[in-house]
Amino acid sequence: MTTLSVMIVDDEAPARTRLRDLLADVSAEVPNVVAGEAVNGLLALAAMETGAVDVMLVDIRMPKMDGIELARHLAQIEKPPAIIFVTAYDGYAVEAFELNAIDYLVKPVRAQRLAAALLKVRLNRPALASPVLAKIQQGARTHLSCHERGRLLLIPVPEIIYLKADLKYVTARTASREYLLDESLTHLEEEFSERFIRLHRSALVAKEAITGFEKNAAEDAETQWQAMLRGVPERLPVSRRQWPLVKSYAKQLSG
């Protein structure tokens, strides 16, 4: 039996202590070693970089980045660690876990249950499907992630100026660079409807990044409105279909 390396992700110190104690208790049955602890999803992803982790025990309700979002980002990397959610009381999430056969434990965790969950991890380790997690998540993510040269890059949503669909991919533009995302623009529009507004069929722009609109006096008769954006030189065209909606939003801004 190889030793499992386990990471504990919970924002409450007593909860982490308890899991550490329990892991020590079951180590005879399931050899394990605690590879690290993190107080939220963001720090857990950062800690992942330093070493291989086999299993993550993940609390759901955490500040900065919650457990479900962490799992969604992890689903993007190759050979992700197995995830066991640990929750005090999230009726909604627990129901979804049951439906989708996702491993979870309820707080206070019992040693027996923890051992059983860890043993199950050894047998098969399918990655959690992101669409399923997307359904469980309540509210929008704090970050988008992209997989680049074997690394997972996180893009904080407030830094994104616009999202643009090109053929198969969606690119996210921040002030410094572009990222290729494996997402659909429609889903992003639904998830971040408070933050982004659709300019045309293939572009969503952060409402607060719009600085103004300008008429593009093209040589042919078709004039078109373009949005000027904070932090990037390029302008994005506004489709005629979306113009009334965007215009009313712009009025709201100036008024």
């Binding site: 409450e12 007593p14 909860a15 104690d21 005090a88 704090t142």
Partner: protein, 344 residues
């Protein structure tokens, strides 16, 4: 207090689709008809004859109105109740007049505007009497209702808090058994308070003690992340207030203000007395992730309704979100209670 007015139990208009209500109307109207027959008649046999004659009038009208009201009951529910009542009375009057006109057409009655008006007045009066009866009946039941309501409204603690606290205590047992003992004792006290009969007013000092115990338990879980500032000045500790008024608000403050935030935050509680009023202020930071609507307003609605049931218009609860000088947002709850201690 609009939340009380919306309370369907206080609405005197009966549910016309309810079988019991229909039965009461049938019996009530027939009883009135029988009384009318008794007044008109000379003897008991004559009375029965008159009642049977009257039934030819009363029963079709009754059945017509009952089925119409059952059909319209959804619409009536949505109307303000005085409108709905007027509508019901008008409906009865109009249908009586129409029936008389129909009888005239069938040459059973000779008609005439006087007879039509008489029929309309009779129909309207009977409908009014029935509505009055239902209103009285609803009022007779309302003390029981408001009591049951008070019980139901007394906020329940979040299961989230219970399980997390138990988990925290479990983690202490090995390393710090003494602290674990204290924590379990506090948890026991908290639940004793929660399971008490909630109808009686309790001294303010008790509620403050309960809040301190609750916050101690939260501090156990959240550690440095939770700071608390109390400011209690010139407050009559023996002032009686409704139980569990502050604890649910503090629970909200921790759940929405401290837990979702990565940084440490402060919950401020301030009591101040001005004249005959006790002012209670609670403030907690707004987490950037949960928007203004992020909170659950159930606890707030509950407390507001309970204040109204205990104090009517003399108590207020206001909430607002303030942007501080440093750009952070703060959520504030302000409660005003009447404070007339009997000692003075």
């Amino acid at each position: 207090m609009p939340s009380i007015k919306q309370n369907p139990a206080g609405q005197p208009l009966p549910d016309f689709r309810n079988f019991g209500v229909m039965l009461r109307i049938l019996l009530g109207v027939n009883l009135l008809a029988f009384a009318a027959a008794l007044i008109q008649s000379a003897g008991i046999l004559d009375c029965v004859q008159r009642y049977v004659d009257m039934a030819a009038w009363v029963q079709p009208l009754l059945l017509f109105n009952l089925s119409l009201l059952a059909l319209l009951s959804k619409l009536l529910k949505r109307l303000p109740w005085w409108w709905a009542q007027t509508l019901v009375v008008l409906l009865a009057a109009l249908s009586s007049a129409l029936l008389l006109d129909f009888w005239r057409f069938m040459v059973i009655d000779d008609g005439g505007w006087q007879r039509i008006l008489r029929a309309a007045l009779l129909g309207g009066l009977v409908a009014g009497a029935m509505l009055f009866y239902f209103a009285l009946r609803a009022r007779a039941f309302s003390p029981a209702l408001s009591e049951a309501r008070l019980q139901a409204l007394t906020a329940r603690i979040r299961p989230h808090f219970l399980f997390n606290s138990l988990n925290a205590v479990l983690s202490l047992i090995r390393a710090e058994p003494r602290r674990a003992e204290t924590a379990l004792e506090e948890l026991a006290d908290l639940f004793r308070a929660l399971m008490r009969d909630h109808r009686d007013l309790l001294p303010l000092a008790d509620e403050i003690a309960l809040c301190r115990q609750y916050l101690n338990l939260e501090k156990l879980r959240l550690g440095e992340r939770l700071n608390i500032e109390w400011e209690i000045a010139d407050v009559p500790a023996d002032l009686k207030i409704p139980p569990l008024m502050l604890q649910p608000l503090l629970e909200n403050a921790v759940y929405h203000g401290i837990e979702p935030s990565g940084e440490a935050g402060t919950v401020r509680i301030r009591f101040a007395r001005s004249g005959d009023e006790l002012h209670i202020d609670l403030a907690n930071p707004c987490s950037p992730r949960e928007g203004a609507q992020g909170g659950n307003h159930m606890a707030l609605g509950n407390i507001r309704e309970r204040l109204a049931l205990y104090y009517d218009l003399e108590a207020r609860l206001e909430t607002k979100e303030v942007v501080l000088d440093n750009g952070l947002r703060e959520y504030r709850v302000h409660i005003v209670l009447p404070c007339r201690s009997e000692v003075l």
